[in-house]
Structure formats: C-alpha cells, structure tokens
C-alpha cells in the first residue's frame, strides 16, 4: 500500500533539498542522471539537520508496464535497484514520491518537493 503524505506536516526549510548518495544533488523536481551513477547501495536522504528519510514510494513506467514499490528506510531496496540497473531494464525514468521524514523530535514531515522525476540519459 502506498504511503500517503496527506497527514504529515510540510517542510519548507531551504535546506531540505533531497540528495542521492553518489554525488548527485537533486535540487529540482526533474533530474537527469547517467544510469551508471545510480549505485546499488544508494541512499536517499534529506539535507535537514536531524531529519531522516523514513519511507518513500518509487514508481516507474515503461511501455505496457508500471511498477510501484514502497521503500521503508532510506536505502534503495534491492527490488527497486533490480528494476533500474538490470542490463535488460526498460525503464527510462522513475519517480521518488510520498517521501516521509522523521525529525529529531519525532514528528513526521514531508519535504517541500512532493515528487522527483529522475530520467536516465542512457
């Protein structure tokens, strides 16, 4: 079941930009990346002091196919990575959305960016 961000506070701190480990700074809602730069142990985190990514939803579309997975924690799940980095992968883009953060004082918040589209250049 996809997590809903409706009942969480929104986080509008300037520093809540989402990042993916691997040196790729994601500071807007559409980002292009070389497929080989996405690593198997990549981690999604937020640049907000004390906040951790608790979960997020991954969805990808290909011709005649749609995959939606809920990722608990901030490490990209193996299933997720398999869909994207497999040599036979036919997914050209994916979304990270419904991101839920847990702040240091235990509150659930969502980053100001609701959905990030990441398109592979290869």
């Amino acid at each position: 079941m996809a997590l809903s961000a409706q009942n969480t506070e929104r986080c509008y701190d300037e520093s809540d930009t989402l990042l993916i480990v691997g040196g790729q700074l994601i500071d807007n809602d559409h980002f292009m990346i070389d497929r080989n730069l996405l690593l198997k142990n990549d981690t999604v985190f937020v640049n907000l002091a004390g906040a951790k990514v608790e979960s997020f939803v991954f969805s990808a579309f290909a011709l005649g196919q749609k995959v939606t997975l809920t990722n608990t924690g901030n490490v990209l799940s193996e299933e997720f990575v398999e869909h994207l980095l497999n040599k036979e992968s036919i997914f050209k883009f994916f979304y990270l959305k419904d991101i839920i953060l847990r702040t240091s004082d235990g509150r659930k918040v969502s980053p100001s960016t609701r959905s990030i589209k990441i398109t592979f250049t290869n």
Partner: protein, 173 residues
C-alpha cells in the same frame, strides 16, 4: 542619440518574439502548422533526434484524435506534447498498440505528464492518441446541422506531438 536608438532596437528584439508566440486566435494562416517544432521542447538529452512522424493539429475541447507511429526494437523514444493554454490542463495522451488496441501507456496514471520516455524491445505500430477534456459545440454536435458556431477564442487551440528517438544505449560493461 545612438545609445537611445540601440536601446529601442534591443527592446524590440526582446519583445517581438514574445508577441509572436502569444496566442492570437488567428487560424487563417494555418497557425498550427509546425506547432510542435516551434512550441514543444526537445529533450535535453543530446542523443535524441526528432522523428518525421511528429505532428501538429487544431483541436477543439472534447475532441480525441490519434496518429500512427512505428516504433523499432533497439531504440528509445520520447513522445511529448505541447498545447495552447486555451485547451486547459488535463490533456490525456495514450499510447495504444495498433494491432491489439490495448493501452500501453496512459498519462492520466502518470500525473498527466506531457512526456513519456520508453525503450522498445519489440518493433510494432502504435497510436499516439490525444484527448482534450471539456466540451465544445463542435464535439457535442450530432451532425453538421447541429453545428452553429465554435468559439475560436475559448474552444480551440493547437496541439503538437513531438516524437524523438535514439539508439538504446548499452547498459553496464
């Protein structure tokens, strides 16, 4: 004096393309012709090339129309559309298998995205179908006798479909 003249020329140079692109509701000069070339943004991925099947057309609200596009194994495609603001939001783009009529992609399940990129593993013919939401006298008319007039300023506008392709890159070593 020369400085003022230069400023005026610069101002005209900056402003005139803005007016040229503004919607004029003047369809007498085949305004939709080449709309996809003038108005749709090509991919930032430099390896994509525009395919000749790209098309533009005049649509009225409530109209559905499709074009046929052959897609080939071993290629990546980016199909996008752009439209005049008068047609509103929520325009639906479907990719349909021409042989089976099954829907392969529906942008209403993808937040009404105006672009879709995909890799082809089997050559086939697809339809790119565009549906404009809403109603107009044209779409409601049962026959020509019912059709009195269509408001050009609020009920019709151009839509461009841009088809781009590239060779599917090899992944991994």
């Amino acid at each position: 004096m020369n400085g003022k003249l230069l400023k005026v020329i610069l101002l005209i140079a900056i402003v005139s393309p803005i007016f040229a692109n503004a919607q004029t509701h003047d369809y007498s000069m085949r305004r939709c012709w080449g709309y996809h070339k003038d108005s749709c943004q090509v991919s930032k991925n430099i390896y994509y090339r525009v395919v000749d099947n790209s098309r533009s057309a005049l649509f009225v609200k409530g109209q559905t129309s499709r074009i046929s596009v052959p897609i080939y194994n071993g290629r990546d495609y980016r199909i996008s559309f752009c439209h005049d603001q008068v047609l509103g939001e929520g325009i639906i783009m479907r990719l349909i298998d021409a042989e089976t009529e099954s829907t392969l992609y529906d942008n209403s399940e993808d937040g009404f995205a105006s672009e879709f990129e995909f890799t082809v593993t089997q050559s086939r013919e697809i339809y790119v179908e565009i549906s404009v939401p809403g109603t107009s006298r044209y779409s409601e008319a049962q026959d020509d006798a019912d059709l009195i007039f269509v408001r050009k300023d609020t009920e019709m506008g151009c839509i461009g479909i841009l088809v781009e392709h590239m060779i599917t890159p090899v992944k991994g070593f």
